[in-house]
């Protein structure tokens, strides 16, 4: 696989200001380079669309999803999208595949690759459960991976914030990333996970956490400032309080305003807000609930300290899984649905509930509209990541559906035409005719997530980038996506070529090779924390383990055996 050159492609590489040009792409030893020799293998893209490999910066793909699998044997037979879902027998090359919302690990690797995605970020894992996640990571073929580590209801975090001990907070965060071989800091319903262990919740950023003298706002600011002091590549990644609650808009706006005071340590946001769709509701109940997307978009258009992802809803069966324990319990009771819960000692909560979304229900129709409104009303695509919060809003195999919706007003209007009348005065989508172009789509699905996460070798096709490339059977200069959306959707679901680390892994929609991916993790502990602070932290942790944990301190940290192909990122020490 030494050298390859991709010719005759219509290339979109926004980071390097390439907007649909017939550039050649040179690959050597798994990396993009400026030139290759005459003997390089030539790949003729035949005028098709060429983008960097997709980056999913927020997906639930390893760890908690396994409980969802055990809950839903029926999901294993669902096949709404042939070729990307349902049971498929083994072949000489491929392991058997099953599932739609909760596919087995092998299917996750194959299907993301077919979509042209090459990097995924598991969005929520506690340090204590990270070993399990890494076992699944190792079983997911092809893709590069990274993990966001839950810290928003962690006892150590809350204790050190309560004590005003920012050094211990920094040390612990760096240690927790090391212990879990994690990449970034995730905050889910700050403080709420801790309260949920008592069956309670918080209702806004100024509520008190029951067992610590801190508020969600204190947790957000504490973690954000320490995150920047550690100079981590990713900002804090936040799931706001009050997810899915009508009238949660003020909480979301409060959270965004709160972070204005934090200074970024590098050229990126100080906070990424995830699955914004679920956090943009006005009203006081489901009866008067409506879209608050205009207010959210207005704020984001005027401020540069944050990014967000959509959390787009896809109609049909979904599987919700989140560290937001109280939300899942509420869902389960509301829909008389099955419910799993997990309270992880000292670290966070979590729940899993299967749901189904239908365009015939005004609430679901409104939620579906909000996700699209947010992405279309925010002017700068570099602030928006395309997601469905897989599989909470919908399974990732529906990404082509969601992407085409952003590119075709016609398709949106076709869907909206089927909505109940009760939806229409709750949404603004019918009046938004913006259609994203291929450059903007490339930003939202590749370049922005890579930049937002601080992954320098992902999301672009400049020299030095990983040779992760997606080529789709779409002729950008000939196709009118607005009209031919179904054909484009099909093409986005089955890449003509997916190249991963310089190797062709998909050809004409079929998997051709199964390389193993890398796992990115951030080591801010080794160099980032001075020895005296390390000693202080370890002494405290040993005490806490003896008293409160159910596992020995020495057995806690993820062993190297679980991360056989690590990429260790060491932030510069400020």
């Amino acid at each position: 696989m030494a050298e390859m050159i991709i010719k005759n492609g219509v290339v979109y590489d926004p980071k390097n200001s390439v907007d649909g040009e017939k550039n050649e792409i040179c690959i050597k030893d798994g990396k993009i380079v400026d030139n290759v020799g005459a003997g390089a293998k030539v790949l003729d893209a035949e005028g098709c669309l060429v983008m960097p490999g997709g980056v999913d910066g927020h997906t639930h793909c390893a760890g908690k999803i396994n409980t969802a699998r055990i809950m839903s044997p029926h999901d294993m037979r669902y096949s709404p999208i042939p070729g990307l879902s349902g049971p498929e027998p083994r072949t000489k090359l491929l392991r058997p595949q099953v599932g739609y919302n909760t596919p087995n690990t092998h299917a996750i690797g194959y299907r993301y690759s077919k979509l042209g995605y090459t990097t995924i970020a598991e969005a929520a894992i506690t340090p204590m459960m990270a070993r399990h996640m890494h076992e699944e990571f190792e079983s997911i073929p092809i893709l590069d991976k990274l993990a966001l580590v839950l810290m928003g209801s962690n006892w150590q975090v809350m204790q050190y914030i309560q004590d005003g001990d920012s050094e211990m907070l920094k040390s612990y965060m760096a240690w927790a990333l090391l212990a879990s071989r994690g990449y970034g800091v995730k905050i889910v319903n700050p403080g709420g996970g801790s309260n949920w262990t008592w069956g309670k919740n918080v209702t806004g950023i100024d509520d008190k956490v029951i067992d610590f003298d801190v508020t969600p706002a204190d947790i957000l600011i504490g973690l954000a400032e320490a995150n920047e002091a550690l100079n981590l590549p990713h900002s804090i990644h936040v799931h706001c309080n009050n997810l899915g609650v009508p009238g949660n808009l003020p909480t979301t706006l409060d959270t965004m305003k709160l972070l204005e005071r934090v200074k970024a340590s590098q050229d990126r946001q100080v906070m990424h807000l995830t699955h914004m769709q679920f956090h943009s509701y006005t009203g006081t109940s489901w009866m008067d609930f409506a879209s608050g997307s205009d207010q959210i978009a207005d704020y984001i258009n005027k401020h540069d300290h944050l990014t967000f992802d959509m959390g787009q809803m896809i109609f049909g069966p979904a599987m919700t899984m989140t560290a937001d324990g109280p939300t899942e319990y509420r869902n389960a009771r509301m829909f008389d649905a099955k419910w799993s819960n997990y309270d992880q000692e000292l670290e966070d909560a979590g729940g899993i509930v299967p749901l189904a979304y239908t365009p015939q229900h005004f609430a679901h129709a409104t939620m579906w509209s909000i996700g699209l409104e947010l992405a279309l009303l925010v002017k700068d695509p570099w602030k928006v990541m395309f997601t469905t919060d897989n599989p909470n809003g919908g399974a990732f195999v529906n990404y082509p559906e969601g992407q085409v919706l952003l590119m075709s007003d016609k398709k949106r209007q076709e869907v909206i035409a089927g909505f109940p009348d009760m939806t229409m005065d709750r949404i603004s989508l019918p009046n938004i005719d913006r259609e994203l172009d291929w450059g903007e789509m490339t930003v939202m699905t590749r370049s922005m997530p890579a930049k937002m996460l601080g992954l320098e070798e992902k999301g672009h096709l400049g020299a030095g980038a990983d040779a992760d490339v997606a080529i789709y059977d779409v002729k950008p200069d000939k196709v009118d996506v607005s009209v031919e959306h179904e054909a484009v959707k099909k093409a986005l679901g089955f890449a003509k070529y997916t190249i991963k680390g310089g190797e062709i892994v998909v050809r004409d929609g079929d998997i051709t090779a199964l390389p193993k991916g890398k796992v990115y993790w951030v080591n801010a502990y080794e160099n980032g924390i001075v020895q005296t602070e390390k000693d202080r932290l370890i002494t405290d942790l040993e005490e806490r383990f003896k008293k409160y944990y159910s596992m020995q301190f020495s057995n806690y940290m993820v062993e190297d055996a679980y991360v056989p192909r690590p990429v260790e990122v060491r932030p510069e020490v400020a």
Partner: protein, 439 residues
């Protein structure tokens, strides 16, 4: 003397990880902190009959097992599996997740049924999870928070001896600093067990009436106590009411449930109704449930099989992709119907735990055993492959009863191959026989 600290005990689903093991001359001479069962397990190779050499029967079931090489035994095993139309691979619960991953591959490539010991113990817990979910928590959360412990159909004093001191009734935690004094205990059991004798309340129900008792408790919680008869499941209504009141008075309740729930009349329907009871109570109180798993890594089998192939047990790979339907694809379902024509088992002892009718049938079909110890399964096995003991002679991952993965240590050297190595070699041989190289 070299003492290895924080060793993971590989007996039951408690997976205690604080053992102190003394090793002298590659022999374990002392096991500190373990319970009786854990000590016996960890020192097992000096207490039980070890399978010393690979063995095969050359002339059918009536002939003696004869020693052979690993290669010969592995080849014979592969030949049996490749020739079979309806092979089954069973067990793999007292071994590492890494070995289980290989066992999944072998089952896929031989079109086998693939099942765990949950078939005869906690399988219904997985079924209950499918029906209603698993509202649970980690054992450390339980230790720190729980002020009411319910043992339902389990007897930890005998089956999980350190459970009460490490995680439940006697454990001291953040909000239960005084241990036992801060907690109440209810036991639900037809027998007045040694665990029950220490309980604040014993619900001594009639055998097989767990479902009925859960129904009554849910009716009380949901405001319908008035319709209940004076006696439920053989227990006076007032006593059942008292139990419900204790749940409502508690801040954090954990229900630990065992085979008394999962293997009696109604089986998983009882377990899943307990799950609904948890949900109902959660409207006003914090309540969770945790299965008391027996084999130390039966939980790991479920985890590995689910992520690798979609289902936690009773997988049928005969058509190239797993079909799952316990009752149809479980080990004893097909053995009772005499549908199986080859059997491979590892790290389990079906010979000691299966119904008589299944065992009788196992004497009639080609059988392969991968295990460290000779046991009743050896009696009917045609190929016997000795294995290293996971967590003693080789490392690997195991999942605790609360689904917490922990890495097991290697304590001593061995010349035996690990389960993982043996399975890898059988897979290679199967591919060779089927002409499927590579991958």
């Amino acid at each position: 003397m070299p003492v290895i600290k924080d060793v993971v005990c590989t007996f039951c689903g408690c997976l205690c990880d604080d053992l102190e093991v003394t090793v002298e001359d590659n022999k374990i001479t002392k096991v500190g902190k373990a319970c009786k069962l854990g000590r016996a397990k960890t020192m097992g190779m000096f207490l039980h009959e070890r399978i010393e050499k690979p063995m095969i029967r050359k002339n059918g079931k009536d002939s003696e097992l004869e020693e052979c090489s690993y290669d010969e035994a592995i080849t014979k095993a592969a030949e049996i599996l490749v020739a079979a139309k309806r092979p089954i691979s069973y067990g793999w619960c007292s071994t590492s997740c890494e070995a289980i991953e290989k066992a999944v591959v072998l089952a896929e490539e031989t079109g086998s049924l693939f099942d765990s010991t949950a078939n005869v113990c906690h399988g219904p817990s997985a079924l209950a999870t499918q029906e209603k979910g698993a509202p649970s928590c980690s054992l450390g959360t339980a230790k720190n928070y729980a002020d009411l412990i319910i043992f339902w159909g389990c007897n930890p004093v005998h089956a999980h001896p350190r459970h009460q001191t490490r995680y439940s009734t006697m454990a001291k935690g953040a909000f239960t600093p005084n241990g036992k004094k801060d907690k109440k205990m209810i036991v639900v059991d037809p027998r007045n067990t040694d665990t029950a004798k220490k309980a604040d309340l014993l619900l001594q129900l009639n055998p097989g009436t767990d479902y009925v008792l859960v129904e009554a408790l849910r009716a009380i919680v949901n405001g319908h106590a008035d319709v209940l008869p004076d006696e439920i499941a053989g227990i006076p209504k007032a006593t059942v009411m008292e139990a419900a009141e204790m749940c409502k008075a508690a801040k954090f309740t954990v229900i630990y449930f065992g085979m008394g729930v999962t293997q009696t009349r109604g089986r998983y329907k009882s377990g899943d109704n307990v799950s609904s009871l948890v949900s109902d109570l959660s409207q006003t109180n914090k309540v969770v449930m945790i299965p008391m798993r027996g084999h130390y890594n039966v939980t790991g089998f479920g985890q590995v099989a689910a992520w690798e192939a979609g289902f936690p047990m009773a997988l049928d790979f005969s058509r190239g992709v797993a079909y799952y339907n316990p009752g149809e694809t479980g080990t004893n379902d097909v053995l009772m119907r005499r549908e199986v024509d080859a059997f491979i088992t590892g790290a389990a002892d079906p010979g000691a735990h299966f119904p008589q009718e299944s065992i009788k049938y196992l004497y009639k079909i080609p059988a392969i055993q991968v295990d460290g110890y000779a046991n009743p399964t050896t009696e009917f096995s045609d190929v016997v492959i000795p294995a290293a003991i996971a967590g003693v002679e080789c490392e690997g991952t195991a999942y605790r009863m609360d689904s917490q993965p922990i890495r097991m240590k290697k304590l001593i050297e061995t010349t035996f191959k690990s389960d993982e190595e043996i399975l890898t070699e059988i897979i290679a041989k199967v591919r060779e026989l089927k002409g499927e190289g590579g991958a």
